[in-house]
Symmetry: C2
Subunit: 152 residues, 2 copies
Amino acid sequence: MRIGELAALAGTSPRALRHYEAQGLLTARRATNGYRDYGEHDLRLVAEIRSLLAIGFSLEDTRPFLDCLRAGHERGDTCPASVAVLHRKLAEIDGYLGRLQAVRAQLAEAIDRTTTYPNRAAAHPNRADYPEENPCPRQEPSATEAGPPTCC
Amino acid sequence: MRIGELAALAGTSPRALRHYEAQGLLTARRATNGYRDYGEHDLRLVAEIRSLLAIGFSLEDTRPFLDCLRAGHERGDTCPASVAVLHRKLAEIDGYLGRLQAVRAQLAEAIDRTTTYPNRAAAHPNRADYPEENPCPRQEPSATEAGPPTCC
DNA sequence: CTAAACGCTGACGTTGGTGTCAAGGCAAGT
DNA sequence: ACTTGCCTTGACACCAACGTCAGCGTTTAG
């Protein structure tokens, strides 16, 4: 199967597949004319990449999962290296969740204040409205329909 | 007060302040030698920008808050345009939270599976490990200590 | 036979908020 | 006078996962 077909089956683009190859995540046999030639197994690999990207993994983080699949496992998340990534990601997400919830609380309070005391000035003049805290993920992948500030 | 002093007081860099000016968020008088000259009020404006950036706002989203302060209000979040941004951000965050929690659940389940059934293959061979879903924020600002995948 | 549709490589563009460097002007201490 | 340190503008670098275009060869349908 050629790159366009694989891309279509995986719901992505030839450019993306070449990018994965450039990152060493995917390899392809070459036909005599130089065209990349993929097999069924490669569809599974690309599907793994896409599904992990969709939940906020970086390409680099998908590597252990692909190695796991190539090692013959039916799932990419059963190998030790994959599990390690899962744990790290879970910890990251918990961090994001905590910060996001803190920010959410700040915003909700600010909104509540303006709706409860409209046109009324607050107590501490020269203080910034929003202390510090510090919220969430940076650059987490996106859904194709979620708009610009897509996802983690 | 010159740019270096304001930057130090606000805990940021001259480069950042020039960037805010380039974006039309900050203005400065000029001394006869061409140096930017800031007043006390500008520190308040920069503090507002920094605190909003820290909780995941884009520079553009801080604009209504700055306008609000310049209009003479003691807080930047009391004007209608600011409140509108607050509502939008709250909605975004709720979206992120929902997706992050869904992803968290997926990861936790995957980890649980590997620890509960070690070395045991799963049921559906050719299915991707992680369906689809789709998680959270992209490119949310960062804390100075949170590391690479900083924050929302 | 020809044109459309595909494939190839290489390279630059995108997004945001800066960091960093270049090449110069200005101010103050010794 | 000279050095040091601040300031100025302008421009390129960064990160990630591609999009897009250029310039070229290949395959395939008509």
